[in-house]
Symmetry: C2
Subunit: 184 residues, 2 copies
């Protein structure tokens, strides 16, 4: 399938509204190829994010649960985090798995690259698949993090996905991909 | 799998920074259950969104391509949009399919509910599966929208997914779910 021809906006004005962590925002006045002016297009700048589908030697999924404030709910998710300055996405994913779950080792490979929302998020999300991880340390979450680790069978993960209980689409997309590519 | 116990933050202060369309933002000072104070948690309020996996009678996928400004690129996507005031998600999805592609009819069912990011987005995304749609009108996009329609075979969609060409995770999550639940 051929990539679609790019039909970009013309940027007429661009202004930063904020430069805070988790809140770096640009507002742009843009013009579409057909000449329509959109007075305010908001762009959220984030560093790249990572997450990891980690499977133990016994084939269990290393999942976590964490409170998610915008929904006011605690949900099952993949281990995930931010690519820090100077890190590669792989290094960030390995660090996050160790910090959030205490698991490490295993064979790692790049699995999927997604965008949280290409309309208004500048960053990409890199998912890794880690096979054969094992507990190698204590969990070391940030002081502000409240993360529980849950080892799950494939059937349990598939049931949670089917019931929309793993709601975060940055996590359900790679998990559904894994299920599609590795049918039982 | 039992739902994890909810472990919410306590909200110490809450302030709206903006009330614009596509930019309604709250900043909150919150306290974790362990007592750590996080001085600024940003919450983006959006209306609910919808998207649709639409299949023609011949089994082709009704896909679109559209310029996405934060990535500066034009990508393949599902038909998608915003649930307007007074609409149900189903009505919004049927309206968006007609406006963006000119397709309608068929059998519709709720397929999946996701969150763009439960940490900082308040809204949900409802995906519908519409089977047996057909061209019933001219495309009627908004003046600011520049949308091309692409009819694709299942193999073409799966190839784009595999190559991370459908990057928007709100769209790749339901498409991968469809592939997992409807193996060839």
């Amino acid at each position: 399938m051929q990539k679609p021809q790019n039909r970009p906006f013309k940027v007429l004005e661009s202004e930063y509204l904020s430069h805070e962590p988790w809140f770096t925002v640009r507002r742009e006045r843009v013009q579409t190829p057909s000449g329509v002016v959109i007075p305010a297009w908001y762009i959220f700048e984030f560093p790249d994010w990572v997450n990891v589908i980690a499977l133990t030697r016994e084939g269990e999924f290393v999942m976590i649960s964490q409170y998610r404030h915008a929904l006011g709910d605690t949900r099952f998710e993949l281990v995930a985090g931010v690519v820090e300055q100077g890190e590669s996405p792989l290094e960030a994913a390995q660090r996050e798995l160790l910090e959030e779950s205490g698991y490490g080792g295993g064979e790692w490979r790049a699995f999927m690259t997604t965008s949280p929302n290409p309309a208004n998020h500048t960053n990409r999300v890199y998912t890794f698949l880690a096979v054969g991880v094992e507990p190698i340390a204590e969990q070391q979450p940030e002081p502000s993090e409240d993360i529980r680790v849950h080892l799950m069978s494939r059937e349990q993960v598939e049931e949670l996905l089917s019931e929309d209980e793993i709601m975060q689409c940055l996590h359900s997309a790679p998990l559904w991909r894994y299920m599609a590519e590795n049918p039982l």
